[in-house]
């Protein structure tokens, strides 16, 4: 555990920041991902293909382009960025929140797909049964659908978290590489790979990143196992 001690303050900061960014990205993208998954799985409307395409965009485009688009939209001068900054004081540019936004966007298609897959597997007869017992649509969702799609939600969250740990293309393009603010682990790793002889440093940080993700994975597996035990199809 030698290398642990040799973690510089800056690197340590990057670790903490990565955790924060990945967690926030994962949690904040959950509600919209749920909504999008629900709409895509259940909705029947004209623009569904468009929405579906939109959701997948961050996957299809090189991360640099996604970062560029984020910059255009959410930057200080971007229409959404300016609006949010003026009305709610939410600023993304050069902030860790921006890194979280970038990671959330990059992980969004992964989360939506997982959740959608689970929603499509839900036996709608159970939802019908809940309705006959007096549960309105929102309650049916809360008390039946949501618990049943938990495995998909967990899978989606894990994918999003892992993606956030590894994301750097969109992040660095959108919010650059500011130590302590936007320099996540993977941005730091990238920086190491860009200088001759930086491999050792990159490797050290990569190991940390992997350990964190493994821990998250393991947690999710335990959680999923518990959930699975609870909800074997009757």
């Amino acid at each position: 555990m030698d290398w642990w001690i040799t973690l510089s303050d800056a690197e340590w900061t990057a670790v903490q920041l990565s955790l924060r960014v990945a967690t926030v990205a994962m949690l904040c993208s959950l509600p919209p991902a749920l909504l999008a998954a629900m709409v895509l799985a259940r909705g029947r409307f004209w623009g569904k293909s468009v929405l579906n395409g939109l959701v997948h965009m961050p996957l299809v485009l090189p991360p640099v382009v996604t970062g560029f688009v984020l910059l255009l939209l959410f930057g200080r001068r971007g229409p959404i960025g300016a609006f949010l900054a003026e009305n709610f004081g939410i600023v993304f540019s050069f902030r860790w929140t921006g890194a979280a936004l970038a990671c959330a966007v990059m992980g969004f298609p992964l989360m939506v797909r997982s959740i959608r897959l689970s929603i499509e597997a839900v036996d709608r007869k159970l939802e019908d049964a809940a309705a006959t017992l007096g549960a309105g649509p929102a309650w049916v969702f809360m008390t039946v659908t949501l618990p049943l799609i938990l495995p998909g939600i967990v899978a989606g969250m894990i994918l999003s978290f892992a993606k956030a740990m590894g994301e750097f293309g969109a992040t660095i393009t959108f919010v650059s590489n500011i130590p302590g603010e936007t320099q996540t682990l993977s941005v730091a790793i990238y920086a190491f790979t860009q200088v001759p002889g930086g491999d050792a440093g990159a490797m050290r940080l990569a190991v940390i990143s992997v350990i964190i993700s493994l821990a998250a994975l393991m947690l999710s597996e335990i959680f999923a196992a518990v959930a699975a035990k609870r909800s074997v199809a009757a």
């Binding site: 007869k125 019908d128 809940a130 309705a131 006959t132 549960a135 609870r230 909800s231 009757a234």
Partner: protein, 358 residues
């Protein structure tokens, strides 16, 4: 306590086109497999939205496709026991039972919960997951779940099919009490004439999506033509009567139906209480003279009204006995031997134990 249903709907090659009204508190739906019973119940529950349809419960228009009225499923408060259990796999048995209570406002009291759980014999299962239950246990939980949701109408699709007779014998009286005390109307699908005879006031016979016959249970159950969809062996007459007296030394109850006094196994109903007796045609023996020294306690004098056509060597004979119509099924040979013909006076003999419905 009146239900009006009208529905026209196509699903694939199957067309349902049925209309019936029922003012009985229990309406039985009878019909062969695939005749459209479940579809009809789904339409009442709102799970299936018919092309054309109208549901009125006690003057309250629940749905009317012409007027574009459609009460959402969850606002109907129709308890539905599905043909398959449909328990929530992520909830314990307790959670499943309590599910309806979360939404029905007040809900049933704790004592009612205990009563239903005990009646269904699922007290030891409360903390289990549905996936660990046996088939019959699931079905019982499903019944409990619907009962505990404080429904204003109960829809039951073969609720007792997977249960043993002993368990049925515990649940049926509960449903009877429900019918008589809380007066919650029930729409009941079953293939068992015994169950239907016991519970239902109105019977609707469905065939191929259409109403083949509908009317009073007594009338329908004694119409051999209408009971094709049911257990032919169980066809018979339904008598309306009142409790006349109890003979507790012999565990008997005497019921007056018209002018007949019928001895039945003891009923736990107060004097004067009205009861219904199903006398299966196969259980009625005919004799030209009053027989002596026999074990059967019920011998009614009557006259032959008519005889049904020969069906595989047996005839259903309709008799008028003291204001009641009784059905007797006899062989062609007996018919010849007894020289049965309309107008002939005859004795109908019914064993008391044959009238045991529990």
């Amino acid at each position: 306590m009146s239900l009006e249903v009208e529905a026209r709907h196509r699903i694939g090659a199957f067309t349902i086109d049925a209309a019936f009204t029922s003012d009985g508190s229990v309406t039985a739906l009878f019909g062969r497999s695939g005749s459209g019973k479940t579809s009809l119940i789904n339409i009442i529950a709102g799970l299936l939205r018919p092309d054309v349809g109208r549901i009125v419960l006690d003057g309250d228009v629940i749905a009317d496709s012409r007027k574009r009225i459609f009460t959402p499923i969850h606002r109907r408060r129709f308890g539905y026991v599905f043909q398959e259990p449909r328990l929530f796999p992520h909830l314990s048995v307790r959670g499943n039972l309590a599910f309806g209570r979360w939404f029905s406002g007040a809900g049933k009291s704790a004592s009612e919960f205990g009563r239903i759980v005990e009646m269904l014999g699922i007290g030891h299962l409360l903390d289990r997951r549905p996936s660990t239950l046996s088939g019959g246990e699931r079905q019982r939980v499903a019944v409990g779940r619907a009962l505990l949701a404080s429904p204003r109408l109960l829809l039951m699709d073969e609720p007792l099919a997977a249960l043993d007779e002993a368990r049925k014998a515990e649940i049926l009286p509960y449903l009877e009490r429900l019918r008589d005390e809380t007066r919650i109307p029930i729409v009941y699908v079953s293939h068992s004439v015994a169950e239907v005879a016991r519970l239902a006031e109105r019977v609707i016979v469905i065939e191929n999506g259409r109403v083949l016959a509908s009317g009073d249970a007594a009338a329908i159950l004694s119409q051999p033509a209408a009971v094709h969809a049911m257990d032919w062996r169980e066809a018979g007459a339904l008598l309306e009567g009142v409790v006349e007296s109890h003979d507790s030394t012999h565990n008997l109850t005497i019921v007056r139906a018209g002018e007949c006094l019928v001895r039945v196994p003891q009923l736990f109903a107060p004097l004067g209480h009205s009861v219904r007796l199903h006398i299966a045609a196969r259980d009625v023996m005919l004799a030209t003279a009053r027989p002596e020294g026999i074990s059967a306690l019920n011998v009614f004098e009557g006259t032959v009204i008519d005889l049904s056509p020969d069906e595989k060597g047996s005839f259903d004979v309709r008799l008028r006995c003291g204001g009641n119509v009784i059905l007797a099924r006899i062989t062609a040979l007996s018919r010849e031997a007894l020289e049965l013909a309309p107008g002939k006076s005859i004795h109908a003999i019914v064993k008391t134990v044959a009238l045991n419905h529990t």
